[in-house]
Structure formats: C-alpha cells, structure tokens
C-alpha cells in the first residue's frame, strides 16, 4: 500500500494528462485534473505518518540502489509534496472550463494536461532519490511551464515564455553539467550513494565544481537573487491560475532541490554557506525594494516573491535545525499567502482594478486584506510564524547582522503591502468596474488559502515538520 502511495503523486497526474487530452472534453478534463491533483495531495497526506518515523523507499523494477532508480520520501519532501499538489489542485479549480483568461481557450484539455504534467514534474523532483532523475523531472516541469506561461492573455506572453525558456534551459543545462561532474567524481547517480562517495573521492575539486554548477542551475530555476530577472515578467504574463501555481510552489521546488543536492548531497562547506546566505540577504532587500517601485500589481508581487524566496535560501544556508525549520515554515507560509493573493486577485493586473474594492466586492476585499496581513507578517498568520522562526534561527546561530537585514526586509515589505491596501481601502471606485466579483468556485481556493495561512500561523505543525526534516538531514537540535 505504501508503495502505491509513494509513486502516486508523480504517476497520478502524469497518467491523467493524456487521458484528459484523449477525452477532449473541457469540463470532464477540468474535473479529472482537479481530482488528480487533490488525489496526489491525499496520497502525500496519508504518507505523512510513515515518513515521520523514517524515510520510505521505493525501488523501481526492484533494482536495488545505487544501480536502480529509487524514490525516497522523508520528512523534508513529503510535506512539500502535499504543498505542491494542494496548490496545483486549488489553482486548477480556478481555471474553469468557461474561463476566458487563457489564450488558447479553445484547447482547454491541452492546458489541463500541461498543468498536470508540470505538477508531475515538480512532484518527481521532490520524490526522487536519483540525481539524473531530478534533471529529467526538472525539464518536464520546465517545458510544460513554458507552454502554460505562453497561454497568457497578453500579446507579450509568448515573449515572456521565450525568455523564461532561454534562462530555464540554461539553468537546466547547468544542472546537467553539475550532475555530469558529480558522476565523474563518484561514478554514481544515487543521492545517498553520491553523498557518501563525494566525501571520499580523490577528485574533491571535481565534486565541488559539480556542486557549484548545480547551485547555479537551481538558483536560476528558483529565481534566487541575483538570477531572478525572468520571474517578474513571467508572473505578469501567465494566466493567473498558472501565476498562482508558480508562485505557490514551482520556485520552491527548485529551492528544495538546491537544498537537497547542493547543501545536503554536495555538502557545501561553511564558506559556501556564508556566501549563499549573504547573497540571499541581499536578495531579501533588493527584491523588497524593487517591489515598492512596480507599476503592475503582479510585478510588485513577483518582486516580493524574490524577496520572500530569499528568506528560504537564507534559512537553509544557516545549516542548523532551527534554520531548516524556519525554511519549512516559510515554504508553507509563502505558498499559502502569495498563492492565495494571486488567486484572490484573479484577473486583476493594475492598481486601478482594485481601486475602491471595499465598496463593491466585500468578500474579495476581506480575503485579500487577510492575506496581505499575512504577507506583512502580522501575528497569528503564517507570515509571522515564518518571520519568528527565521529571526530566532538567525539569533540562535549568532548572525546579528543577518538579523538586521531580515528586519529591514520586513520593514520594506510594509511599503508594498500598503501599496496593495491603499487602493482597496482608500481610493474611490471607478465608474464601471470590469473585474467581476469573486464568487462561487473562485472563492474556494482563496478561503482555503486563508485557512491554511491561519492554521500554519497558529499551530507549530510546519515547524514540527521542519525539525523532523532537519533530523533526517542529520542536523541536531
């Protein structure tokens, strides 16, 4: 039974995708896609108890590692598997068969199939214990993402997708190069095996070069400062269910891969971590500051993501149990908050679209305000839990200067949160509003996001998983 649950988050969406295309009916395809995504989430949920005790392995074709490909689910990737599948399901819910948002509205089953394949790719990166498998799944998720972004309603969406393709492929190629260098140093592709061999190999320099290449590649995919330039235009160009999905988990999966491969398998040393942490802190400030100057809401939120993702990278770079816990909390916090904000905004693109929103769309205003409070890091929301664990993790390991950077970043966040709230609450509504009110099925994901935000903010659940994950990575509390 565990075996089925283990591979289901990858196989379920992957196998549903062709079915959706073959059936060809938009409505059925929509329902099937949502079911597949939520089914994956359910499988991840059911696995949580098992992986809390010890990592669960699945050997494909019964080939024992290090020869065969294995999937390893542990306390670090299983919660993220739940996160990505839930995010995909909720985002898919808003991509209704009758939506006119996407460019190829007449080929909706293809859109759903791409979405599912993207999810399968991300889940594959999370699940696999094989280094080369990571590359394959990375490319599956990337190729489908290019298609999804190009489905955006703007004329420039194809251009944005193309630019993303160029940078994404470069990133993927660096990953491939890194894997090749590791293979040269160790002769193995299995993660656990590579980890062992990298510490013994006489070609340590080659191994280190591979680690750095992987880091470079995943930084590009994760839009990690300073390789983040593609992110704002992609978020602005994509259809909003795609933007929400990308914001909620695509970049986070790349950060996961970076943490798992470069930090854990590659065993990046203390200097490397320090550099990584410093660059991330710069990214925190840079992203937040840039967000304050954007004229387009989505670009502003995208820059905010650059800043918020850098928090996760910084947390991982600490190399302590508290750091991993902080990263885990921020994974969930940012996914719920930013994904929720994009889903609640829906087709909104400019600040004029939300002017006087409180006078005409109370529900959207309430949900958006709550989520923005989360982004601000108000107590009881997930944003606060993340900030708290991050600050105490930094203080715990004596990084006082880092504390200053983090605090400054959260202060700049006040500015862009206020930029979001001022039109909603203080400006007066335009004569005619062309954004329809948030109703029906579109409400559900936003409400789930808000509930998730408060759940993570008021219970130590995410932090608990963070500490369990830290234990599997070998950090002691």
């Amino acid at each position: 039974m565990t075996d089925v649950l283990l591979i289901a988050p990858v196989l379920l969406p992957m196998l549903t995708a062709p079915v959706v295309v073959l059936i060809g009916n938009a409505r059925i395809g929509w329902i099937l896609s949502c079911l597949a995504a939520f089914g994956s989430a359910a499988c991840a949920w059911l696995l949580l108890d098992a992986v809390a005790v010890e990592p669960v392995h699945y050997h494909f074709g019964n080939w024992p590692p290090p020869f065969g490909i294995e999937y390893v689910l542990d306390a670090l990737n299983t919660p993220l598997l739940l996160l990505s599948s839930m995010a995909a399901g909720l985002a898919l819910m808003t991509a209704t068969p009758t939506s006119t948002e996407e460019n190829f509205a007449n080929r909706r089953p293809v859109f759903y199939a791409l979405f599912l394949l993207c999810l399968a790719g991300l889940n594959g990166i999370l699940s696999t214990g094989d280094v080369f498998n990571v590359f394959v799944f990375l490319e599956i998720s990337s190729l489908t993402t290019y298609g999804l972004v190009a489905a955006g309603p703007r004329a420039g969406s194809a251009l944005a997708a193309f630019q993303y393709l160029v940078l994404g492929t470069l990133g993927g190629s660096f990953v491939l190069l890194g894997i090749g260098l590791w293979f040269q140093a160790t002769g193995s592709l299995n993660m656990a095996d590579t980890r062992e061999l990298l510490t013994q190999t006489p070609y340590a320099a080659v191994g280190l070069a591979g680690t750095l290449m992987l880091m470079l590649g995943f930084s590009l995919k994760a839009a990690s400062f300073p390789l983040h330039q593609w992110l704002p235009s992609v978020y602005a160009a994509a259809p909003w269910p795609v933007t929400a999905f990308l914001a909620a988990c695509a970049t986070k999966v790349a950060i996961y891969a970076m943490a798992r491969l470069a930090l854990e398998v590659g065993g990046l040393g203390i200097q490397g971590r320090a550099v990584l942490g410093f660059v991330a802190l710069t990214g925190v400030l840079w992203g937040a500051a840039a967000a304050c100057f954007q004229r387009d809401i989505r670009r502003m939120l995208a820059w905010s993501s650059v800043s918020q993702l850098a928090y996760i990278v910084f947390a991982f770079s600490l190399g302590t149990a508290a750091g991993v816990a902080a990263a885990m909390v921020q994974f969930f916090a940012h996914a719920a908050i930013k994904g929720g904000i994009f889903l609640t905004l829906g087709p909104v693109r400019s600040f004029d679209d939300i002017a006087g929103l409180r006078d005409r769309d109370f529900l959207r205003t309430a949900l958006l305000t709550l989520l923005t409070l989360g982004l601000l890091g108000v107590p009881l929301t997930a944003g606060f839990a993340a900030k708290w664990s991050l600050l105490s993790a930094a203080l715990d390991s004596g990084h006082y200067i880092a504390l200053g950077f983090l605090v400054l970043g959260s202060l700049i966040a006040v500015v862009y949160c206020l930029r979001l709230m001022e039109p909603v609450w203080l400006r007066s509504a335009p004569e005619k509003a062309h954004i329809p009110p948030l109703r029906g099925v579109f409400l559900v994901p936003s409400i789930v996001a808000v509930i998730a935000m408060f759940a993570v903010g008021t219970s130590p659940w995410a932090a608990k998983w963070g500490y369990l994950a830290a234990a599997t990575l070998g950090y002691t509390q």
Binding site: Y146, A158, L165, L170, S173, G180
Partner: protein, 117 residues
Amino acid sequence: MVLLSQIFFTLVGLLLVTGLYLVIAQDNLVKKLLGLSVFQTAIFVFYLAQGKLFPGAVPILGGEVVNYSHPLPHVLILTAIVVGIATLAVGLSLVVRVQEELGSSEEDEARHRERNP
C-alpha cells in the same frame, strides 16, 4: 591519454562559452536558440567524453576484452538529447508566436512593441 582528455575538455569549455555568448549577445530569437543548442551540445560531449576509454570496447561481455567503455553516459545523454530537441521545438514555436503577435523576432524590437502596442 591525459592529453587527449584535456583536449576534449578544453573543447567542451570552448563550446560552452560559445553557446553562452550566443545566447547573451544575439538579439535574434532564433539565433539565441541556436546558441542554446550549442551550449547543450557541449554538455552532451562532456558526458560522452567521460564514458569513452582508449582502448575500450562496446560493453558486451565476451572475447578477450579487458576495458569496456562506460555505457551509462550514453544512456543519460540519449535522454538529455530528447529533452534538448523538445526544448528547441517549444522554443521555435514560441518564436513563431512572438513573430505573429508582435511582428518581430528580434528581442529588443518585440519587447518595444509589447510595451507600446
């Protein structure tokens, strides 16, 4: 032997840099894609080079063969080539759409038209 592999890896490095240069410096979207392909091919060569031994036979058991070439890099690169082709295809189709929607396949001009429709 060492010399040969060093020549190989130098070649790989040259190809990598050439590809990267093309991607960054070229304004034309198709040329960018070509650069990308060169970049990827360099990595393919890098993989294949590390699998080959001189003298090294095809990895099939039998005879008095002492050294076998490593088959795994070939298999991996087969996958990577497929990925590369798929990327190229998606990229080219995106270029077609950019040309259709914005009337240019030069990056700067397309971006300019996007901002000032």
